[in-house]
């Protein structure tokens, strides 16, 4: 309770690592380091794998730092597992892309892991949101977030869904998945993240909300990158390692930082203990 430093060295190191990995990757990708197509593809995928793997490890590690009876353990377990599913999806996608840089099959095993991450992450966010239900009514945040999700879906209808449905070369499954991704992003990531952010706004200045703020920012970045990827990939203008990927790199980094902050603020260190 004293005014001692709240954030641990570990949290700062995770944030710094995420930024360094992203910055170095941008330089390497722009310089075309890697030689062959496969080499450059591997380099372009590395930052997503490193930051995504770090976020999954940090989420699961954080869950295990809390006792079984703590709600935070279940919330972080779901966030860790959801991020792990994304990491496995990214690893599978990278492998398929390195093996054949010209044509990655769609759908593939990677899509299974990407798709199951949605309900798992949504579960973690909703559990976090409902932990505040004794403190405030959650009706307004849920209604407002639902309205925003509906508007976003309507916006994507014109930009992305109609062109996908009109595509005569895509199979029905490809069209279905092409629409399912942004719908999942909006309704299972954006909606709970937005509702949680609105609930957290009551806790402005309070450090018990810091970790959730960071997670909300991280998942929002991941969601924006997902949607941009979907649109650009459909247009045939997406390239691995492009600016879109930075949304995933910084999003995963933010989730890892949020996990570390959760331990800092909810599992206070004993006086004199080292981080």
């Amino acid at each position: 309770m004293s005014g001692s430093r709240v954030l641990s060295n570990r949290t700062w190191v995770i944030a710094a690592l995420g930024i360094v990995v992203s910055a170095v990757s941008i330089v390497l990708i722009r310089a075309g380091v890697g030689g062959s197509d496969s080499g450059r593809t591997l380099i372009a995928n590395l930052p997503s794998l490193l930051t995504g793997g770090g976020a999954a490890a940090a989420g699961l590690w954080t869950a295990l730092r809390f006792e079984r009876t703590e709600g935070l353990r279940r919330q972080w377990l779901l966030l860790g597992l959801g991020t792990a599913a994304l990491f496995i999806g990214d690893t599978t996608f990278a492998y398929l892309q390195v093996v054949n840089p010209q044509e990655v099959p769609f759908p593939s095993v990677a899509d299974f892991f990407y798709l199951i991450s949605f309900p798992i992450l949504a579960g973690g966010l909703l559990m976090a949101l409902f932990s505040f239900r004794r403190s405030m009514s959650l009706r307004a945040p849920m209604l407002l977030a639902t309205a925003v999700a509906a508007v976003a879906t309507a916006g994507l209808w014109a930009i992305a869904f109609q062109p996908i449905l009109a595509d005569t070369e895509a199979s029905s499954l490809e069209k279905f998945l092409g629409i399912l991704y942004p719908v999942g992003d909006i309704w299972l990531l954006l909606l709970p993240a937005l509702a949680l952010a609105m609930a957290l706004s009551h806790f402005a200045g309070g450090r018990l909300a810091w970790s959730w703020w960071t997670v909300v920012v991280g998942l929002t970045l991941v969601m924006v990158a997902d949607v941009l990827f979907g649109v650009l990939d459909f247009q045939g203008t997406y390239a691995t390692g492009s600016f879109v990927d930075m949304g995933w790199w910084f999003g995963y980094t933010a989730i890892a930082v949020g996990a570390s902050i959760a331990v800092d603020v909810h599992a206070p260190r004993k006086a004199g203990a080292r981080s």
Binding site: A128, F203, A204, R207, H266, A267
Partner: protein, 78 residues
């Protein structure tokens, strides 16, 4: 002493939950004993602590709540 208890609760909770929610929780907690603020004494701390526990516990750990209550008790009694 009584006004001190309300302020102590507010002071301890503010860094954790922000000023707005700290005001809500402190108000609920110091009304829990069923007395006017001016009548609160250290003997009312168990009731106040219980209210704080019920308010804050759902979104944080038992360790944090125990630390909050210990700090309030220390500052009120000390």
């Amino acid at each position: 002493m009584s006004e001190d208890i309300h302020n102590v609760v507010l002071d301890v909770l503010t860094p954790l939950v922000g000023r707005a929610m700290a005001t809500v929780y402190a108000s609920k907690a110091t009304h829990r004993p069923g007395k006017l603020l001016v009548g609160l004494t250290a003997d009312d701390l168990p009731a106040i602590s219980e209210e704080i526990r019920q308010s804050v516990r759902p979104f944080t750990t038992r360790a944090v709540v125990d630390e909050v209550i210990a700090e309030i008790t220390r500052r009120v009694r000390g």
